[in-house]
């Protein structure tokens, strides 16, 4: 298993390198520079600043300079936050995004799995239809609509929860962003679980179990749940990625100082190093997450392990 993990990680290096090269070329290809503003800089000041950040060098040289920094674990200085480094900004933003993402992921898994299972067991019933229409709505209504509506109802009208992030203390500030972020995933996981459970319940081994006279509860818990989880589990990797990218919008709507907001602002401000740093960080994260999912897959399904 360890050898497998190591091999997979080694295999990820070219992928990561490709991501860095493409991202580097793309941010530098975007028109406009980090120091353009309506109040244009006098030429001598602009030159000084560009020289200070080596932006006056040819692109390949800039790339090599950047890569040698990355290999040493230095993602460079932010262009927009003049006295902060990219690593420092990621260090400040990632814990926030991570906490938000984990909470949303936990909520989505818990509610999605239960709702999907219940709906599958009562296939065609009223409950099934209600759950599935909720799921349909959850998938189709975009986050940037759900967020402001929740704020309007629960913060502005009812005053139950804070509307924003900064300055609010305690767990209350997590509630609305986590729900907003989890909603589409709850819906997706519920639909996936339902479909998978229905399929599993129709299999031969379940019929055998029934024929042996086992209680329905036992059949579900011992025999049906594990195979049901397989397609759901393989969706978990993409789900985490979706939650991470979904947080870009949620962080904007709620003003949360996470990586998503730095990413968007960084792109708009042409903060080359910040954008690149976050891309590299996310790419590495997703590679590792996919690896973890694959390993978990093997834990749950012995057939995968043997292959």
């Amino acid at each position: 298993m360890l050898r497998y993990a190591l091999l997979r990680l080694l295999g990820a290096i070219p992928t990561l390198l490709l991501v860095i090269i493409l991202a580097f070329l793309m941010v530098h290809a975007a028109p406009g520079g980090p120091f353009d503003a309506e109040r244009a800089l006098p030429a001598d000041v602009a030159e000084k600043i560009e020289a200070a950040y080596h932006l006056d060098e040819p692109l390949p040289k800039q790339f090599l300079r950047y890569m040698s920094g990355v290999l040493k674990g230095d993602l460079g200085p932010s262009y927009r936050y003049r006295d902060r480094s990219v690593s420092e900004l990621i260090g400040s933003g990632f814990p926030v995004s991570l906490k938000l993402g984990l909470l949303a992921f936990g909520l989505a898994s818990l509610l999605g799995l239960s709702a999907g299972t219940f709906a599958a067991l009562r296939q065609g019933s009223m409950l099934d239809r209600v759950v599935m229409s909720f799921a349909m709505t959850g998938v189709s209504v975009p986050v940037f609509v759900v967020g402001p509506v929740l704020v309007l109802v629960f913060a502005v009208k009812l005053h139950w929860l804070p509307a924003g992030w900064s300055g609010a203390s305690g767990p209350a500030k997590y509630v609305l962003p986590v729900i907003t972020l989890a909603l589409p995933q709850i819906a997706y996981i519920a639909r996936l679980t339902r479909a998978s459970m229905i399929e599993v319940l129709g299999r031969d081994f379940i019929r055998t179990a029934r024929a042996q006279g086992l209680a329905t509860k036992t059949i579900i818990r011992i025999h049906a749940l594990k195979p049901t989880m397989l397609p759901v589990l393989s969706y978990m990797g993409p789900a985490i990625a979706a939650i991470l990218t979904g947080s870009v919008v949620v962080e904007e709507v709620f003003g949360i100082p996470g990586l998503g907001q730095f990413f968007v602002r960084g792109a708009l401000n042409r903060d080359y190093t910040l954008v690149l740093g976050i891309v590299i960080f996310y790419a590495a994260l997703i590679i590792v997450l996919n690896l973890i999912v694959d390993i978990l897959y093997g834990v749950i399904d012995p057939r995968v392990r043997q292959q």
Binding site: G32, D36, E38, A40, Y81, V156, G164, S166, P257, R265
Partner: protein
């Protein structure tokens, strides 16, 4: 409907509440919450660039002079000053009780230290050119600072309110270098000390107990909340989490005006929204008649009333009204009705060689924003109806538009704006000088430049003013830009905030404000 009535009633009740008491307000006691549209890029006054950074810097630092809540110059670290007869030497007498937040005394040489760093090319400060006309800052003793000028700068005092000219603590700089401006290391000589900064979220300031005028500071803590989305800021204001908003979202302006009218503060400010021409390429190069035709065909009154609708003033000059010691000359056709303007515009348009069969085709570039888009659409249709111009709207991301404006290769007409840095006509007019980096249309007129140079040499304020007005009149007749409207500041100010003053610079120092209990 019922809800709106409740809101209105509440607004009325709150509006009449006086501003006398300083009662505590439960757990939100004495903490002011302000909205900030973007993160300060740094709190190093020399490397900061945005108005938001300057807003925070004015809370934590103090220059030789400052502004009152209503925008009048008031003494700061300098308790008094004299100006020599030729206007070339200012002698500032510093107060001896001015202190840094660690208790050190603020001395004249710390201003010199700061200015030296500001103008040092190695610093690459954005505002280095602010002090272009200053020959020297000299500390003759601990409390006396002599500023000598190359030529009279009547707005010098106004410049010295800019955070880039605030003093620096040399000891901190020696210890931390360029990283000195962080919570925990940044010393403050103003009313507040920086105690926390979460990038993208919150800048926290606490009362500076060592500040010489600490007794006059009413609010103990100020939280500047970074809220990039105006709609989010409005929601947070409505939820009672923010006391002062940085803006009011245009799409909600009407609703805000109806429901929160008493809390809405609108004031003219030093800013012009304009369309610039690329004067380096046809069709606008050497074609003032065509430029005038396009300028005349824009119905500015209709635009500010129907399209922008936030109290903006139609612009017929480059320098906004309300600036010190200046009366902006207006475009020659300002007194005419729009119909009359359109008729003249048509004549000019034809004289420039265009007609119904041979219409002018142009590209109008603006950066992505709802307001810019609606303005551009309206102007496109005004030009089409009055002249038959075929305008293609090109919507670009801001950094792309800026790069195109700088390159001057593909731009024809572009949207831009200018915000004044100090209360003097020079902050606007100097933009049009041929050597100014912010001269977006690339306007180059020897006559204008020489009028500006002559104005710059005047000690006598009235004569200087005449030259400046003459320069503007001359420039306006050349139509390098189309001034469209002058900005107004829009803020929502909670009824629990006292001491707010509307002013043309849109500066609102937290130290002038206080809080009271409402309800």
């Amino acid at each position: 409907m019922k809800l709106i009535r409740i809101f209105l009633f509440a607004a009325l009740l709150l509006g009449v509440a006086g501003c006398g008491g300083a009662d505590d307000d439960g757990d939100r006691a004495n903490v002011l919450h302000r909205g900030l549209a973007t993160d300060p890029e740094t709190l190093d006054g020399h490397k900061a660039r945005s108005t938001q950074a300057a807003d925070v810097l004015r809370d934590i630092g103090e220059g030789l002079v400052g502004y009152s809540a209503t925008g009048e110059l008031v003494p700061g670290v300098a308790k008094s000053w004299n100006v020599s007869d030729d206007g070339l030497t200012y002698t500032f007498h510093l107060r001896s009780d001015a202190k840094w937040s660690n208790g050190d005394v603020v001395t004249a040489d710390q201003f010199v230290f700061s200015v030296d760093r500001l103008i040092d090319p190695e610093t690459a400060a954005f505002y280095a050119q602010l002090l272009d006309d200053v020959v020297g800052f000299e500390a003759t003793d601990e409390v006396t600072l002599v500023v000598s000028l190359e030529r009279p700068v009547p707005y010098l005092l106004s410049l010295l309110t800019h955070p880039a000219t605030f003093p620096m603590h040399p000891g901190t700089f020696a210890e931390y270098g360029d990283d000195f401006a962080r919570p925990g290391t940044l010393l403050s000589n103003g009313a507040y000390v920086l105690t926390g900064w979460i990038p993208g979220s919150l800048v926290t300031l606490q009362r500076n107990e060592s500040y010489w005028n600490n007794a006059a500071t009413a609010i103990d803590e100020v939280q500047h909340h970074v809220i990039t989305q105006p709609m989010t800021e409005l929601a947070r204001y409505r939820a009672g989490e923010i006391d002062i908003t940085g803006v009011v979202p245009p799409e909600s302006f009407e609703q805000v005006k109806t429901e929160l009218g008493e809390q809405l503060h609108m004031a003219p400010r030093l800013g012009a929204y304009y369309y610039g021409f690329n004067l380096t390429k046809p069709p606008f190069k050497n074609n003032p008649e065509l430029r005038q035709a396009l300028s005349m065909a824009i119905d500015r009154e209709l635009l500010v009333e129907k399209i922008t609708g936030r109290g903006e003033m139609p612009a017929y000059s480059w320098v906004p009204p309300g600036i010190n010691n200046y009366a902006p000359p207006v475009l020659s056709y300002a007194p005419l009705s729009q119909d009359e303007r359109n008729q003249i515009a048509q004549t000019l348009y034809k004289a420039a060689g265009y007609s119904e069969d041979n219409p002018l085709q142009l590209e109008l570039r603006y950066n992505t924003s709802d307001t810019h888009q609606r303005t551009a659409l309206a102007i496109q249709s005004m030009w089409r109806e009055a002249l038959g111009v075929e305008t293609t709207l090109v919507n670009e991301e801001f950094q792309v538009l800026l790069a195109n404006m700088r390159d001057k290769e593909i731009t024809q007409v572009f949207r831009s704006s200018w915000l004044g840095d100090y209360n003097d006509a020079h902050t606007f007019l100097s933009v049009m000088q041929s050597d100014n980096a912010a001269n977006t249309p690339a306007y180059a007129s020897e006559e204008f430049d020489s009028l500006m140079a002559r104005a710059a040499g005047q000690v006598d304020l009235d004569r200087r003013r005449l030259y400046l007005e003459e320069a503007e009149r001359f420039m306006l007749a050349d139509h390098p830009v189309i001034p469209i409207y002058f900005y107004v500041s829009n803020h929502l100010v909670s009824p629990r905030v006292c001491g707010w003053g509307d002013n043309i610079l849109d500066y609102h120092y937290s130290q002038h404000l206080s809080l009271k209990a409402v309800e």
